[in-house]
């Protein structure tokens, strides 16, 4: 087909000056690479956060003391003492949409084992922890209800604590000292690694909440309560049941603010997702500017090219090329520049995303959709920015063009 041959001519023309073609494509390459890398990083982060939120436990609700406006975000900060284990028990007994409830008591302590020493967080839960938090044990067993009622000094270690106190050994059955008190290690949690905020999730010990209250922190309230709803669809119902119950228990009058906050993981997930979506779009938009600059580069070079080849265009027209033939010839060149720039940009983008992932340990998710859209847009840029020069070429007067020096 005649136009296929014209396309071949366009390729040849670009290949004749590889340096110029390469430099022209640079804008597109950078633009596409940036879009792919940034969207990939954004998607990876979003994915990781979502996975972590899911890994904390499906259908998880967290109840904090203090109303929302009082900044009840940090579970351990509580100078508030309004939540109690009785609240937790009442929720379990009365809220039908709830299947498991655990009080949460947090502290920190120096932990000593033979000659090793490590400062870590101490978290106290009820036996419902396993049901709520989907955190299986790597070794040993969990504590029992007897341990909770008796506030026994037993504990389960996170991987980081094991690495520091019992490097290379099995800690189950060993005795460690927490705040100078002897504790028996009855289990080890499977490692979870760093969370999205960079916090080491394995740097903790878990024990019955009663033990933390009485033996470690010396308090009678709880820092928060974690609740597992029946399923995702019952989250809202669980929230309202809990709120109603606590308002009654805490004797809050109608019209008064709650003295607690019920936060659902679903809300957290939604909030994070929308934030990261906005971030991704923003990054993508900024990177797209580079694509436009690349397109302007193409238009610029094509205009120069058309002027340089005025004589050639005149010759082609003299021997029978129609306006359309000339137009397609030059448009092909700009489209090829755009598409090849796009392909190279996609490769560079995917590679740099992998590189960033490897160096910074950020998760990166390169989506096929981003690649397809980028390829498509690089073609569009070629068409759009190549149109004016190609049209200019096609409208040249052959006699004038032949006279051009």
């Amino acid at each position: 087909m005649r136009y296929l041959q014209i396309l071949k001519i366009a390729f040849k023309a670009l290949a004749k000056n590889k340096m110029r073609s390469g430099l022209t494509m640079l804008g597109i390459i950078i633009g596409v690479a940036a879009v792919i890398a940034m969207v990939g990083i954004g998607a990876g982060a979003k994915n990781m956060v979502n996975a972590q939120i899911a890994s904390l436990g499906e259908n998880l609700l967290t109840i904090f003391p203090g109303s929302q406006s009082a900044g009840a975000f940090h579970g351990g900060a509580g100078s508030r003492t309004t939540l109690t284990e009785e609240d937790a028990r009442a929720i379990k007994d009365n809220c039908s949409a709830v299947v498991a409830v655990s009080p949460v008591v947090r502290s920190s302590a120096q932990v000593v084992a033979s000659n090793q020493n490590w400062g870590t967080s101490v978290e106290g839960y009820s036996t419902d922890f396993t049901q709520i938090r989907s955190w299986p044990l790597a070794a040993g067993s969990f504590f029992t209800n007897q341990d909770v009622s008796g506030a026994t000094k037993v504990c389960i270690l996170g991987e980081t604590v094991v690495d520091n106190l019992f490097p290379g050994q099995d800690p189950v059955g060993e005795i460690i000292r927490v705040k100078k008190l002897p504790f028996k290690v009855i289990g080890v949690l499977i490692p979870k690694g760093q969370n999205a905020m960079g916090h080491d999730q394995d740097d903790l010990i878990i024990m019955p909440y009663t033990t933390v209250q009485k033996k470690i922190a010396g308090i009678t309230h709880v820092n928060s309560i974690i609740v597992s709803a029946m399923d995702k669809s019952k989250m809202d119902l669980a929230t309202s049941q809990i709120s109603e119950l606590l308002r009654v228990r805490h004797k809050i009058q109608p019209g008064q603010d709650d003295d607690f906050t019920v936060r659902s993981q679903l809300d957290v997930a939604t909030a994070v997702n929308s934030t990261s979506s906005v971030m991704s779009i923003l990054l993508g938009a900024i990177a797209s500017v580079s694509l436009i600059v690349g397109g302007i580069g193409i238009m610029n070079i094509m205009l120069v090219s058309v002027t340089e080849r005025t004589r050639e265009i005149g010759i082609r027209m003299a021997i029978g090329a129609k306006s359309r033939d000339i137009m397609i010839q030059f448009l092909s060149e700009s489209i090829v520049l755009g598409l090849i720039g796009g392909i190279i940009g996609i490769l560079v983008g995917v590679l740099s995303a992998r590189l960033i992932s490897a160096i910074l340990h950020w998760p990166v998710l390169t989506s096929g959709l981003a690649i397809a859209v980028s390829f498509f847009f690089s073609g569009i840029v070629g068409v759009f920015f190549g149109f004016y020069p190609a049209r200019k070429a096609s409208l040249l007067d052959p006699i004038e063009a032949l006279r051009y020096e």
């Binding site: 087909m1 001519i9 003299a318 006699i399």
Partner: protein, 247 residues
């Protein structure tokens, strides 16, 4: 011999700012198949303008131009392009070859815009190059060829679509004497085969190889006569002193 070109009252006027330039003032001309016409005249006489109109590169301001029976004067750009491709072969003073393209690719060029893409393109181009005596030089680039050889490639290109007429605008203008006569030899050989040739020149010497002499002045034809005894290029070359060997 049928009439290939009929021109009736052809006029061309250019506007240059406020001025009107009457390049052609009511030309009447007919050229038959197989003729070999030389058009002479000083610059500004209108001969180049006529050539552009004959070659369908330009449209007249008035009058009619019939090429092979078709009224070409009112056709649109695209149709004119087709006629240029199929019925006309151009030869220019400065050769006008594509510089980073080989001889055979240059020759093939009109076939690209032919509408039909044949694998025979290379074969046709080779035949055309043979006809002008350039076998063996198919893959040379223009900067590797002498002026005379480049002009031969241009002639081969002009021939490739078997046009009705070859239009040559000062084809020997950039060539030395001997090479000019060699080119005229090619033209005469083509004319013997029945190809109609119209060439513009300002050299009386070159015009004397043609069979008909038309003179232009101020946009009008002032002389139109047959040449009784055209010079024969083949013979002239034999009469010329042998080429001196380069030291």
């Amino acid at each position: 011999m049928a009439e290939l070109i009929t021109i009736e009252n052809l006029a061309k006027t250019y506007k240059l700012g406020d001025y009107e330039i009457h390049a052609l003032r009511g030309i009447n001309l007919s050229i038959r198949n197989g003729e070999f016409v030389a058009i002479m005249g000083p610059s500004g006489s209108g001969k180049s303008t006529l050539m552009n109109i004959l070659g369908c590169l330009d449209r007249p301001s008035g009058g009619k131009y019939f090429l092979d029976g078709i009224d070409v004067s009112s056709l649109n750009r695209d149709s004119l392009a087709e006629i240029r491709n199929k019925k006309i072969g151009f030869v220019f003073q400065s050769f006008n070859l594509l510089s980073r393209t080989t001889a055979i690719e240059n020759t093939e060029l009109p076939l690209l815009y032919n509408g039909d893409s044949t694998k025979e393109k290379a074969a046709k181009a080779r035949r055309a190059l043979n006809m002008v005596g350039l076998e063996g030089r198919e893959n040379s680039f223009p900067n590797q060829l002498s002026g005379g050889q480049q002009q031969r490639v241009a002639i081969a290109r002009a021939l490739i679509n078997s046009p009705a007429i070859i239009l040559a605008d000062e084809p020997t203008g950039n060539l030395d004497t001997r090479t000019s006569i060699e080119v005229m030899e090619i033209f005469q050989a083509l004319n013997e085969k029945g190809i109609t040739i119209v060439l513009i020149t300002h050299e009386l010497d070159i015009a004397s190889y043609a069979k008909r002499d038309i003179a232009f002045r101020d946009g009008k034809i002032v002389k139109d006569e047959m040449i009784a005894k055209p010079k024969i290029a083949k013979n002239e070359l034999l009469l010329m002193p042998p080429i001196e060997e380069e030291a």
